[in-house]
Symmetry: C2
Subunit: 403 residues, 2 copies
């Protein structure tokens, strides 16, 4: 819960003095760690080979200090399912019931074991880096009278995140009482996990929305979004950065989900250099404009021969530089019905200790000034608190629910 040492204000103020060094430290400079994820506390086996693909039946430990699926290197597929909890279960008791069932099933699924009452055990045998991460909404927490025990941002966001300029939110992809983030490299296992978990608590919860996403990283580099850019260059990588920015005092984390739609025809009308101005990075290398390599420091003071900034202050990078390590981005591409105009975008997912000081102020700034807004629209929004990880045999949120 330590607040970031370099606020954006400080970043700008300090640049030119010690700022440049500070940026190197805070902005994903671990270029040597780019391809290989920093060691994952939840990982007992290699999560992905150098080609970004599981080559064996890899399993990610379910139990641990923190839930798997947050620090875990992003798998190829993500399926997010949000559920509404029935009225009679909106209590600590009810939540306990659901968490017990889900934890047992999720632990089995992640280890390739057959969940209770699952007759399709063969579909669960090859989890291939399956992780299942649960989150509770502020409203559900409030209804269950648990807010007092939990971080302050939860009560502040009881009705969801604040609305941002330009938001065109629909209920189809917003809110919900509980979320399951199911990620893995085997879509059959992901699909089966969603079915088992949904079926297992069908008397207590009803699916509200689901979103499917994918990323590909065939040669181990940062995956690309469907606008063509590398996405996820600046993220926390060290244990210190995770402790500082991602995990809260209870070992949990706040998960923000935003569904973003691209305006493909308008975007495609731009030439490549215009696209690079919008992002502030090179399409090919991912380097910040003015730099040469993806993990080069972002230098917002760099100017070209005419004395103009290399990185437009209103570009995406111009507005987000220095913030990358303050939240664990775990975004996925989505691609819907094939239409003439295209129906495609990003499921932005991020984890942080406190959205009131991480996602929300950053998104406010982006919503007001990001050049990219001309081509992207946020249509879904949800925020959840993810409890800490489980000890062996424990269940999600046990400390909070029994404490």
């Amino acid at each position: 819960m330590t607040r970031r040492s370099i606020s954006r204000r400080g970043f700008f103020a300090g640049v030119g003095l010690t700022g440049a060094t500070a940026v190197i430290t805070s902005c994903g400079s671990d270029s040597e760690a780019a391809g290989s994820m920093a060691s994952d506390k939840n990982g007992t086996s290699p999560q992905a080979d150098s080609a970004g693909l599981a080559t064996e039946d890899t399993k990610i430990a379910f139990d641990g200090e923190h839930q798997a699926g947050i620090q875990t290197a992003p798998q190829t597929h993500a399926l997010l399912v949000a559920y509404n909890v029935r009225k009679e279960q909106r209590s600590a008791k009810g939540l306990q019931r659901i968490m017990r069932i889900w934890t047992g099933d999720a632990r089995n699924l992640a280890q390739g074991h057959t969940p209770l009452a699952d007759l399709e055990s063969e579909l669960a045998m090859a989890p291939r880096n399956l992780t299942i991460t649960v989150g509770w909404s502020p409203r559900l927490i409030s209804d269950a009278k648990l807010s007092d025990k939990l971080p302050g941002w939860i009560e502040n966001n009881r009705d969801g995140l604040p609305k941002f300029k330009g938001d065109q939110l629909t209920e189809d992809f917003s809110d919900g009482d509980l979320v399951l983030q199911i990620c893995g490299d085997d879509l059959t296992a992901v699909s089966h996990a969603a079915r088992v978990l949904t079926r297992g608590c069908r008397d207590f919860v009803t699916p509200k929305w689901s979103q499917r996403g994918f990323i590909d990283s065939p040669t181990g580099e940062t995956p690309r979004n469907l606008l063509g850019f590398k996405d996820g260059t600046a993220i926390p990588r060290s244990k210190e950065e995770y402790d500082d920015a991602v995990w809260d005092e209870l070992g949990g984390s706040a998960m923000v989900v935003r569904r973003v739609v691209y305006d493909m025809p308008e975007w495609e009308a731009l030439d490549r250099s215009s696209r690079e101005v919008v992002f502030g990075r090179s399409i090919e290398t991912g380097a910040p404009l003015g730099g040469t390599e993806e993990f080069d420091e972002v230098d917002l003071n760099a100017v070209n021969e005419q004395g103009l900034p290399m990185i437009d202050p209103h570009s995406h990078v111009g507005l987000t530089a220095g913030e990358g390590t303050h939240m664990r981005r775990r975004a996925y591409n989505w691609d819907g019905e094939v239409t003439a105009l295209g129906s495609t975008g990003l499921i932005f997912i991020c984890f942080q200790d406190d959205p009131d000081t991480a996602f929300t102020p950053l998104q406010k700034r982006l919503a007001e000034g990001d050049r990219l807004n001309q081509w992207v629209t946020h249509v879904g929004s949800a925020v959840f608190w993810c409890p800490a990880g489980t000890p062996e045999g424990g269940y999600w949120g046990q400390d909070v629910l029994e404490g």
Copy 2:
């Protein structure tokens, strides 16, 4: 175009005499070839490693005697897009225009090269076994006055396949003038290919429907459908079987696409042995009931101690035994919105020289008698003629369109 040597009638009549041997020959007995696909004429590089995953940036040759994506070992992802062709392009001339553009783009995409006018070249760089296969509908062929040059089944199916008992077809997944089957192991490349191809002919064609499917074969075995069974055990594997059953006289093939919806809650209410009775195979091994291994011959005459047949004559296998090598099945799972009841099923895709003697009579028999019908419903149907493969620099259907 040679008709199958063993008709179903012959199969039943002969069983007990020479029939058993005949079954071994015709029913996917190449168990040693189960994991490794028979050599693919379109493949210039390994398509998948033993884990069913590309471990390098593998490319499948675009040009060849037949189109890629038919005999090609099924990749992890499939995206089918059907298009309607605008009125003024419904001629040989119009079709020629579309095929020239698509062939050029598809050839580039499959090789990881940048298609003309594509500014997102990075998304095309790792095709990972990308194949793009085109099909023309009987109605379009008829409108373009090309029927005389093409196989007879096309004119017979001018209004689509016959309606089968129990069909609940919707326009959302049926018909269309042209289809692109885009398959690969990298969903980003698949998605980008669909965008490039749709955009490239947007003045001539409009997407009518699209369907996304997946299969996983992490340890190289036959993939499973979402009912839990191995799916695709009995398929043609040798060059002889392909020449006999899949390729027509022009080097083309008939592609049938059927969208099947599962009734998950009702299916899940069955115990495992009831499910096995319905399919006629073991869930765990895929062996025909009475056998011990997946590729064991199907013996419809085997009886248990009580003298009852091991394989119910109305099970899926009971009705399809001996037919496996008569069409190249290339089915994919689909999984939609996560709901309490589940929304999931199969995109059945098959290729054959003549649907009037392959898919249609078999489906008629299944529609009337398959026990599985209680849990599956066909909601989409389409049939297309896939032209032969291209010589270097040629375009799809060139012989037909210029001949």
